[in-house]
């Protein structure tokens, strides 16, 4: 099995490099394949071939295999970058790092290193080290406060997934294939035709397919597995709810407030102040509002509408709605602030031309304002996602503590519950790796998309 994995890694290296002609020299293919195999072999080399051991499950095999290929993939990307550099095909790095043309100070060569050393030391000790340790901790059975730990290979990871290895492999492959196929279809059809529009819809749907595939491969519990599917669903609901509430609300209010009316500056200041409020305080304020016995929400619902609202902490929908409302409220000021700045870049001439052409207010908003805001919308989408992934922890801790039955326990809350409250560092670290992968995914998507899909036209 180990041999099969290494052969696959070699094939993967060849396929990866032959996609572009400039890597198709025997020397480069040779180097690439060697690097690919070596990187794959590094996985069993460092942790032992434990994933293929007799006592491991089929899911362990799949994960170990995937880990080896991921290692190859990363090594190949680095190798390709080095090839590009030696070709001079990569963009000028001095422009990227912002170096000035005149060459700068001529001093002893260690001076820049001295200037960078505090930053590099902190990044190595407090970011890179724990990042690597998060992965290694995920392969261990480690208890909080206990000095020793036992290697458990990938079982902390595999117990989060479904038991059936065939479906585990098939679902993600189908989803990824669908994304590639539809984006190829979109590029193959010419614009303004029906098949192109259809392809665009299919392409969007295929991205949703990734989320469905993830839902399908996380274990619903049972069979000795950890029920991670509910955590995934809760995280999706609360993240999407928070980001949507914060961004739509922020845009709507900013669109009202950027106008040049009397007292506009006062309104703007009174609208953005929640930026300075902490997620903890947001949690406390809404904890008070929604309190089942003392809160004003229940009181007014009963006095005004005669509705007896049940305790929000005992109903999944109400608890999630309360968290979304509190965290959406807190991020509102931040979004308004950025949208106000962004609205200043909307080209006035186009808006005025549209008014003359008789476009309705709604048409002006959707056809001119929204497209020219897309860079800032995209930036906010990423920062709001990060907020909803992590900062929300304090809000949840004050309002529901994950209740009822984990329905508000999002990924980061679950990590602390498992890793700290239950003292199971290894399992908590394994869940951290999942969140880590999600963050890397969002960041890579950000790097790829910025400048590609967002409009910069007119926003000079």
């Amino acid at each position: 099995m180990l041999i099969a994995a290494l052969v696959t890694a070699a094939l993967f290296g060849v396929v990866f490099l032959t996609r572009e002609p400039r890597y198709r020299t025997p020397r480069r293919l040779g180097i690439g394949t060697t690097v690919s195999v070596a990187a794959a072999a590094a996985v069993p080399g460092t942790m032992g071939p434990c994933g293929f051991a007799d006592e491991s499950t089929p899911v362990d095999h799949v994960l170990f295999f995937a880990l080896m290929l991921t290692s190859s993939w990363i090594a190949l990307i680095v190798t390709r970058a080095i090839f590009d550099r030696s070709d001079g095909a990569s963009p000028d790095t001095s422009a990227m790092t912002g170096e000035i043309r005149s060459g700068g100070f001529r001093t002893k060569p260690w001076v820049p290193w001295l200037l960078l050393s505090p930053t590099l030391v902190i990044l190595i000790v407090f970011l890179y080290t724990p990042a690597v340790q998060t992965f290694t901790l995920g392969t261990k059975l480690a208890r909080l406060g206990a000095p020793n730990s036992i290697d458990v290979c990938l079982s902390n990871f595999s117990e989060l997934l479904i038991v059936d290895p065939v479906r585990l492999v098939a679902y993600p492959l189908v989803a990824v294939a669908a994304v590639y196929a539809t984006s190829w279809w979109r590029r193959a059809t010419s614009k303004e035709t029906w098949s192109h529009r259809l392809a665009e819809v299919a392409s969007t749907l295929s991205v949703l397919g990734i989320f469905v595939a993830l839902w399908a491969i996380f274990s619903p519990g049972g069979d000795g597995q950890v029920a991670y599917r509910p955590v995934y669903v809760t995280t999706l609901i609360i993240t999407i709810g928070t980001v949507a509430t914060g961004m739509i609300g922020g845009l709507a209010i900013a669109y009202l407030a950027f106008r040049n009316i009397r007292g506009g500056g006062v309104y703007r200041t009174l609208l953005i102040w929640p930026y300075a409020i902490s997620p903890t305080v947001a949690g406390i304020l809404f904890f008070m509002i929604f309190d089942p016995t003392a809160g004003i929400f229940q009181y007014l619902a009963e006095v005004w509408f005669g509705v007896d609202v049940p305790n929000y902490r005992e109903s999944a929908i109400l608890a999630q709605a309360a968290i979304i409302l509190a965290s959406g409220w807190k991020i509102l000021g931040y979004n308004i602030l950025f949208y106000l700045a962004g609205l200043q870049t909307v080209p006035t001439s186009q808006v005025e031309a549209a008014v003359i052409d008789g476009a309705s207010a709604w048409q002006r908003f959707t056809k001119i304002v929204l497209p020219s805001l897309s860079p800032i919308t995209f930036f906010l989408l990423v920062t709001n996602l990060t907020y909803a992934f992590f900062e929300i922890y304090a809000t949840i801790d004050f309002m529901t503590k994950g209740a009822p039955a984990g329905k508000t326990s999002v990924a980061i809350y679950e990590i602390i519950r498992v890793g700290v409250n239950n003292g199971d560092l290894g399992r908590g670290a394994a869940q951290s790796v999942l969140l880590f992968v999600a963050v890397i995914g969002v960041t890579l998507w950000q790097f790829r998309t910025s400048g590609e899909r967002v409009t910069y036209g007119g926003a000079t």
Binding site: T119, Y128, L256, R259, Y393, I416, G419
Partner: protein, 282 residues
């Protein structure tokens, strides 16, 4: 408070009647302010007054304040948070300035590699590695120390890139003129770059101060001793005061804890807005 006038020029002039906008904006302001206004009311009341839903200022503001500030020693938590926020803010600014200087004004081998090394940390938020970091920092024996809640956060890719971007947009003549005058890198930084970067420094100050002051998860793990605790976590102890939940002190604590970041935000709005427009120019 005039900071948000930035760039409000003549765009979006309202044609026709203005009152619908005033109405909608006032409503938005009220909806956004409601949680805080309500908390202010509760902060003045006793539990009995809260449960009878009186919507007039209550009688307990002084005693609630005494509970929070003196009995629960909230003043000490505020002081801890202030120290933490200032250390992180100042440290991050200094380190970012030095890194920006090295990236823009020096040539050295493997610079692109160092650049990527810093860039990659953008996708490494502390939260995803918090358990490993907890083990690591506990291993240093740093529990309950100021170092544990400041040092890990004083370097950042965001800050370094902010100054790199700003310096790169400065005219080359600045450096040439300074070099003719015999400036060393250090004097160039202190005499030329810093005086030209106050807007960016101000913007970074606001962002970092608010970020550090509002930190919750990490201090809640690494600080266990009440006397070393920061405000955001100290509020948790107010959830249970004298055996039962008293809402008044809790709301008052939430309000007090929000004053410093709000003050920094409002007082520094002007450099913040202009600095952050520069930061957005990317």
């Amino acid at each position: 408070m005039a900071g948000l006038q930035v760039g409000v020029q003549k765009k979006g002039i309202v044609r026709g009647r203005q009152w619908p906008f005033h109405l909608a904006l006032s409503a938005s302001v009220l909806v956004i302010a409601f949680p805080l206004l309500y908390a202010t009311l509760i902060a003045t009341q006793t539990n009995a007054e809260i449960f009878s839903f009186k919507f007039t200022p209550g009688s307990a503001l002084a005693s609630n304040f005494d509970d929070v500030w003196v009995k629960r020693e909230f003043s000490r938590a505020m002081w801890n948070s202030l120290q933490q926020s200032l250390w992180v803010t100042v440290g991050k600014t200094v380190l970012s300035l030095l890194a920006g200087l090295a990236f823009v004004y020096f040539k050295f081998r493997a610079k692109w590699l160092v650049f990527f090394f810093v860039l990659v940390t953008l996708m490494m938020p502390t939260e995803v590695m918090i358990l490993a970091m907890f083990r690591l920092v506990s291993g240093f024996g740093w529990q309950d120390t100021m170092a544990s809640i400041t040092l890990p956060f004083i370097a950042s890719a965001t800050g370094a890139f902010l100054f790199r971007q700003h310096f790169a947009n400065m005219p080359v003549e600045l450096l040439e003129a300074s070099q003719i005058d015999g400036a060393t890198p250090f004097t160039f930084l202190t005499r030329v770059l810093i005086p030209l970067s106050w807007n960016i420094i101000g913007a970074l100050f606001v962002i970092q101060f608010v970020y550090t002051w509002n930190m919750f998860l990490w201090p809640s793990l690494i600080i266990r001793d009440d006397s070393a605790q920061v405000v955001q976590v100290a509020m948790q102890t107010l959830l249970n005061f004298g055996g039962a939940l008293t809402f008044g002190p809790l709301m008052l604590a939430a309000i007090i804890a929000s004053i410093p970041p709000a003050l920094v935000f409002v007082l520094m709005q002007k450099p913040f807005m202009s600095g952050f427009v520069t930061a957005q120019d990317k």
